[in-house]
Symmetry: C2
Subunit: 493 residues, 2 copies
């Protein structure tokens, strides 16, 4: 008898008593219904109790309320599903910085579409895992279809027949994969060297405006720190890039450009950068985590001209694509470059299984177990279509243009520049960095608005990242008014 | 006027027309309700249409059905939310390998609890991102509480006052972080060397039974491939480890042990391994992605004796914890060892914000944008309590014991060994590896059962990974009968 045996053995009666435990199977939907209603009701109550874009009182007050409701985290005896959902979902909703509130506009932190959030439930309930076909027969095909479709959209008709994409946890992982692929591509090319020299031989070259994840990825991968090209105007200039590449001549290089910087939403001049990279034999990765979805819009996709020449592109639909996190992608013009990610684990992709027709999926990620984040994306694209996505992108970008006009119209502010996507950056005409930082924190502390901060051109600025497609003119006016009022307190004016 | 301006400008009327678009805010719950019902109904229909643990017909048939329903992936004009949800959730449910079916038992792929799947909706709807406080005021505190609580559970009362854990996408990322922390710890210790030597100096030593992700992580991080210690009995033996460590004497080493192998659910003898590692000044990481949740059970946690001496532990609740993916953790006995993950990005954790009391969260992951996967874990722990989790763990392990007895009772099978967790490994008494592989594929192709495969002791075996706490004695008998029938066809018996 097993040491694990239960007194009296495994009993069917215990299973009957626990009917309703699981989300899947034939009985799962009936079990889910009342629990989903408990969640929806708790979300509704939390939003009312919060009554604004974020909770009042700052970190200590919020943490105190959470501790009062959430503890003990692991009681000896459970509270039951309904009570636990009601308490914890309620306190997290009450204490959320809700991007669906137009005054929550600090970060690349979008309000998710209801259709996408609903689709995500199916991923949670069915729990397919994309590391082998026999854990995700249909979901793995949906992923393949969506990835190829998005890659074709990114690279355009001319270059897209073998284009593909990998699903990532976000732009950070996509950038990491791009650096890894470059490392391995150069390792192959210079395979005579091997060992440590081969790994560290690739040099990443990026602008000072590039995302911090590029630096973190180089560190993770054991590469030299990126060579940073000064970007005083907030973009990577081809002439400055050329100077840098000349300086590392001979070394295999990966140029990282940005289409939509985190600080200002600026788009690097991709055609010029591409030309320089080609001239020096460097690979080009474009981090279009933010700006990429402009490709949905016929009117706006011209802003990304040159993107189609990249060797890899970070593309993200949990920013300007209104997906719940995570919905990142790394797109490549030719699926063959993904070969270095190939990996064998006998229990998942044994040769004889692959030869017998079971698809090998393990090369599609560095993760093993992997949730089908692509399902909500597939549902969203089907629900809205290209034109529906374009309409939301255009409306969001237009809102930024209108906010910029409002700010420019006020004599008390300096606008950093015309928004290129949906980020508006400004600061007081009179006042130092401490005033900017203080106003932002005051608005947070009071639960009035979530504004961002950006360090640009040697100064600190307020950053309003508009990602809410339902923002109204009155909301834009409210942002300006809140900043003005908090600024007056700060200066004693 | 902005180049992005819409004809006629931003109009409040357009927002009114799109009410119901977003999942968040005060209006979100009302928008979600009917869409969630559409999803639940599609899940219900899909389960009925499937009528078993997985769809019939194998990869090509399933892919064909998906393509017929899912294409075109990106239509010019959208189909609307309800139609898109109904079609895509329906086809993914119909084509799922559903772990809630007791005959789906190949992988460490668990059937999620209804309460956890329901809680996950709140994460999707509110979309908190855990890279800064102002994107996740309450969710970040929930994460901190759960992580400390689980780390205390892993390391026990004696060693746990500073214990903490990081949330990961799964065991693979947790193992990756463990190797990274070891790399950086030794880099600090041998900082005089710096550069490439410092990075590659750490040597990973693991058993032949360790998870493939250990090898992939070493490659990712630019480390030498792990030194593999033979494990003919399926576990890492202290004596063999000692031989290996003696062979790399002088090099900084990280020993990786496993508490719950993927192939057989075997638990390495941790006390002996810990003693050897200490003697040789090596760090010890234990990959307890599978076996870790035995700590919930007073009866079974003794199986993990020695775990509390590890320098880091991979712990995962999307295996023996019934969470939807992802619910991984890396636990450490002292939060101070996580310091190398510290990272500054001015827009997320500027010094003046941190000094003013806004929590710095960026060190808690290598990801930037990050979903609160911890919310469903918090709700589950509260709902079931320690005793409820223990009951499910014990029942699942007991089922494996009963299946092993059934198999042993049949003269036609050889049992690999007594299950140590919930994996039962067996093969035909007469028959080669091709028969084992063929039977498994035949059951998959027909949609009858999802069984796994394991290469152990030079042979191929069937692997039944029991993770369904509602499995009944009759289900166990059905597994054996299906294998027998398919085997008879395979041998023509």
């Amino acid at each position: 008898m097993s040491v694990f045996a239960l007194d009296g053995g495994l009993r069917a009666a215990d299973c009957d008593a626990d009917a309703g435990l699981l989300a899947g199977g034939a009985a799962g939907p009936a079990a889910l219904r009342p629990l989903l209603e408990t969640v929806v009701a708790a979300l509704e109550r939390g939003a009312v109790e919060r009554g604004g874009p974020l909770p009042r009182g700052g970190p200590e007050a919020v943490a105190g309320r959470v501790r009062a409701v959430a503890g003990p985290v692991l009681p000896e005896v459970g509270a039951g599903a309904a009570a636990a959902l009601d308490a914890l979902v309620g306190v997290v909703a009450q204490g959320a910085a809700d991007p669906a509130d137009p005054l929550c506009a600090a970060h690349l932190h979008c309000p998710p579409l209801a259709v996408a959030a609903a689709a995500d439930v199916a991923a949670s309930a069915l729990n397919p895992s994309l590391d082998s076909w026999d854990q995700a027969p249909a979901a793995s095909e949906v992923e393949a279809l969506v990835c190829r479709s998005l890659a074709r959209l990114v690279f355009g008709a001319g270059r897209a027949s073998d284009a593909d994409a990998l699903v990532t946890t976000g732009g950070t992982e996509a950038n990491q994969l791009a650096l890894l692929l470059a490392r391995e591509r150069f390792r192959e090319r210079f395979s005579g060297r091997g060992g440590a020299g081969g790994v560290r031989g690739v040099r990443v070259v990026c602008g000072a405006n590039a995302h911090h994840s590029v630096h973190r990825a180089a560190w993770l991968l054991g590469l030299e720190p990126p060579l940073v090209v000064p970007a005083p105007r907030g973009v990577l200039e081809p002439a400055a890039l050329e100077v840098a590449l000349r300086g590392v001549a001979g070394a295999p290089a990966l140029v990282v450009a940005t289409a939509g910087t985190t600080d200002a939403g600026a788009i690097d001049p991709l055609p010029g950068i591409g030309a320089v990279a080609r001239r020096y034999g460097a690979l080009l990765h474009v981090d279009a985590a933010y700006g990429g979805p402009l490709v949905f819009s016929e009117r706006l996709r011209g802003r990304l001209a040159g993107l189609e020449c990249a060797d890899s592109v970070t593309f993200d639909l949990h920013k300007l694509g209104w997906q719940p996190v995570a919905a990142g992608f790394l797109a490549v013009p030719d699926a063959g470059v993904l070969r270095p990610l190939g990996h064998c684990a006998d229990y998942l992709n044994a040769d004889d299984d692959t030869e017998a027709g079971l698809p090998d999926l393990l090369w599609r990620s560095l993760r093993t177990t992997r949730r089908p984040d692509v399902l909500k994306v597939a549902v969203t694209l089907r629900a809205l279509g290209r034109s529906g996505m374009a309409r939301l992108v255009e409306r969001t970008c237009a809102a930024a243009g209108e906010l910029a006009e409002l700010v420019r119209g006020e004599g008390r502010f300096v606008l950093y520049g015309e928004p290129e996507i949906s980020t508006v950056v400004f600061r007081p005409a009179v006042g130092d960095d401490a005033l900017v930082a203080g106003v932002r924190r005051r608005l947070l502390e009071r639960g009035q608005a979530v504004l961002g901060r950006a360090s640009l051109a040697g100064r600190l600025w307020w950053k309003v990242t508009l990602l809410n497609p339902l923002v109204r003119p009155s909301d834009l006016a409210a942002v300006v008014k809140l900043v003005e009022e908090a600024m007056e307190e700060g200066t004693g004016a």
